[in-house]
């Protein structure tokens, strides 16, 4: 932190920015606001999922119960959906990584013609209402027999996850000094060897973040899955929609907690990993 200068106090409107205490306080305020706006709804969900009886104006449920959890977990439709969701998401992530990592590297390093255009092309599925895309995809799926199949859903999810992965990995590879790779070549490594020994380890944090996003995006996808997966392939979020419409609030709450749990766990794991010293060195550009 730069030492504060002792010039005469010429008042500026942004004086408080210079004050470290003020800055710290604002930061805390911001964190608190985040916690309130994100935490309280989540907490409410958790409370609802364990609520036996909860009437207005009580702040917390008046009776606690595991009834809803039991109801949800004993329902074969739910367990099937969970099983399906958790088998689709990793496959989607893995397949996306297999395509997006080389693609990101190519975008970052090689002089791919029309690089900018191609990168923008990846964004197109996100630029329009998804639902239109899904409907036309469903039509295509009917023709080639992918409708209502496991792989049909996987490919649909990949449309979205490819975007995250390619953009994040491109940025990650870009941040790695090309000289590091050249040094490996100079020491006798083939291009492939240099990639696996130097570039990939340094890109790991970025790739993990990208994979995390992909995993969660796949886990969360409902619109498209509903269109191409029904009636046999019902994932968790699709089922959640049905539950919401049948208006059993505590059941929906249990479900939401179930859906949120993997995200939370993964984030905690990722955060721990991303904070390790090795990554700090990797990103800190010696």
């Amino acid at each position: 932190m730069a030492a504060r200068t002792t010039t005469l106090p010429t008042m500026r409107l942004s004086w408080w920015i210079d004050d470290p205490r003020m800055r710290r306080m604002l930061l805390r305020l911001f964190a608190a606001a985040l916690a309130v706006f994100i935490g309280i709804p989540l907490l409410t969900l958790v409370l609802w999922s364990f609520a036996g009886e909860w009437f207005w104006p009580n702040l917390i449920p008046t009776q606690w119960s595991l009834r809803w959890w039991q109801e949800v977990l004993e329902n074969p439709r739910v367990t099937n959906a969970m099983f399906l969701s958790f088998t689709i998401a990793p496959v989607v992530t893995l397949l996306t990584a297999l395509v997006a990592i080389p693609a990101g590297y190519a975008f970052a390093r090689l002089d791919v013609p029309l690089r900018r255009t191609l990168l923008l092309l990846f964004l197109i599925p996100n630029a329009f209402p998804r639902i239109g895309l899904y409907v036309s995809l469903a039509v295509l799926y009917y023709q080639i027999g992918l409708i209502d199949t496991y792989w049909g859903i996987v490919f649909l999810h990949m449309i979205g996850t490819m975007v995250y992965m390619t953009w994040i990995t491109t940025a990650t590879f870009r941040s790695i000094d090309p000289h590091l790779e050249e040094a490996a070549r100079d020491a006798g490594a083939s291009p492939l060897r240099a990639f696996f020994s130097v570039v990939l380890p340094l890109a790991t944090p970025g790739i993990i973040v990208a994979s995390l996003f992909s995993f969660l995006a796949s886990l969360d996808e409902a619109q498209g899955t509903l269109i191409v997966g029904t009636p046999h392939y019902i994932t968790m979020p699709v089922l959640l929609y049905t539950l919401i419409s049948s208006f059993q609030r505590p059941v929906a709450a249990v479900f939401s907690v179930l859906l949120a749990l993997p995200s939370l766990l993964l984030l905690i794991v990722a955060q721990r990993y991303l904070h390790s010293e090795y990554v700090a060195a990797g990103l800190g550009r010696v």
């Binding site: 590091l180 490996a184 070549r185 490594a189 340094l202 090795y278 060195a281 010696v286």
Partner: protein, 352 residues
């Protein structure tokens, strides 16, 4: 034995010629500095030697073997990068041992060689550290050890000292030279710092705008610059424009209304020339004299062991002369005269 031969090497980028028809022979165990301002093509030349850039034309030979088309991993060269390019996810020992492990050398040999190399560069006891935990000078030494551990035929250094502070730079300069002498390794050293080049190298290759201007030892380049660029870039020179006349077999340059005796090789009578004179080749007079001219706004800059007299001339512009440290300026006018100067053709061509 490790000789390098660059034969008519050129590299053209979209709109600029980075390296223009460069030929250079580097002898076994020689320390050659590629010196020039940024953008002169020196780094491109080095990267062509390392194999990171393929020349558009010409050949690169090491010990008579054409390596122009070999990728970096198959060349007997090792490079020290300006940014050091140490792998941040590996310890110092792993950085140094990387190349040895790639070559599947036995474990004990890898450990021994790594330790020995770190010893040579004066870095013991940091083997287990990560590059980010080292100082700039230490990182520099690791980079050097990593390059040397494979026993390359040619050591390539790309402005290795530019990220260090002045004191450390001088120390590392001597250190690199010592290591080079100790290992008897042919070395190519890229720098924009003439002091580095003059103090470290056996021979200096001065480049400008992709063109090799002159190759020679420090004395040659200082005393007998081949082009006006070299005269100006190495040390300092007063540059003036004039016309060359041959009078009784002696070359005289007519600059404004004065005449300057010059050394001129390969310049024809009546040709426009650029003449260059070192500050120490200027005589300072207290009174007007033939072929001397008055210096306006004279002022002195003290360099400790000597002083520099700076001043202007209405047509020649800024000029400087070296004077003894006892020199004082009075109120009377100051005149200067060129005692020795060199004339160069103004087309910037390099005489061959």
């Amino acid at each position: 034995m490790a000789e390098v031969d660059l034969r008519r090497v050129s590299k053209v980028y979209k709109d600029t010629t980075a390296v223009d028809d460069l030929s250079l022979h580097i002898k076994d165990r020689e320390f050659v500095a590629l010196l020039g301002p940024s953008g002169c093509g020196k780094t491109t030349t080095l990267r062509m030697l390392a194999g990171f850039i393929r020349p558009d034309s010409g050949q690169i030979l090491i010990d008579g073997k054409d390596i122009t088309d070999l990728p970096p991993e198959r060349r007997p060269t090792a490079m020290v990068f300006q940014s050091y390019a140490l792998w941040p996810h590996m310890t110092v020992a792993d950085n140094v041992a990387f190349g040895l492990r790639l070559r599947k050398r036995p474990k004990t040999e890898v450990a021994d060689r790594t330790e020995q190399m770190l010893d040579i560069v004066g870095l013991r006891g940091v083997m287990k550290r990560y590059p980010s935990q080292l100082s700039g000078g230490q990182q520099q030494r690791v980079a050097l050890a990593r390059a040397l551990v494979l026993g390359p035929k040619i050591l390539l250094l790309d402005e290795p000292l530019s990220n260090l502070d002045a004191k450390l730079r001088v120390r590392m300069r001597d250190e690199i030279r010592r290591i080079q002498q100790e290992l008897q390794i042919t070395t190519v050293y890229v720098t924009h710092d003439q002091e580095e080049a003059l103090t470290m190298a056996d021979r200096i290759a001065v480049m400008d705008k992709g063109i090799l201007q002159q190759v020679g030892d420090a004395l040659d380049i200082y005393d007998q610059p081949a082009t006006a660029f070299v005269a100006d870039f190495i040390g300092s020179s007063n540059l003036l424009n004039g016309t060359l006349h041959l009078v009784d077999g002696r070359a005289l340059a007519q600059v404004g209304d004065i005449r300057v005796p010059v050394d001129a090789d390969g310049v024809v009578d009546g040709a426009p020339v650029t003449i260059s004179a070192r500050p120490e080749d200027m005589e300072v007079l207290r009174a007007a004299a033939p072929d001397a001219f008055r210096l306006d706004d004279p002022r002195l800059v003290n360099f400790g062991a000597y002083k520099r007299l700076l001043g202007r001339h209405p047509t020649f512009g800024q000029l400087e002369a070296r004077v003894p440290k006892a020199f004082r300026l009075g109120n009377e006018p100051v005149y200067v005269r060129f005692t020795r100067a060199r004339a160069f053709t103004t087309d910037g061509k390099v005489p061959r």
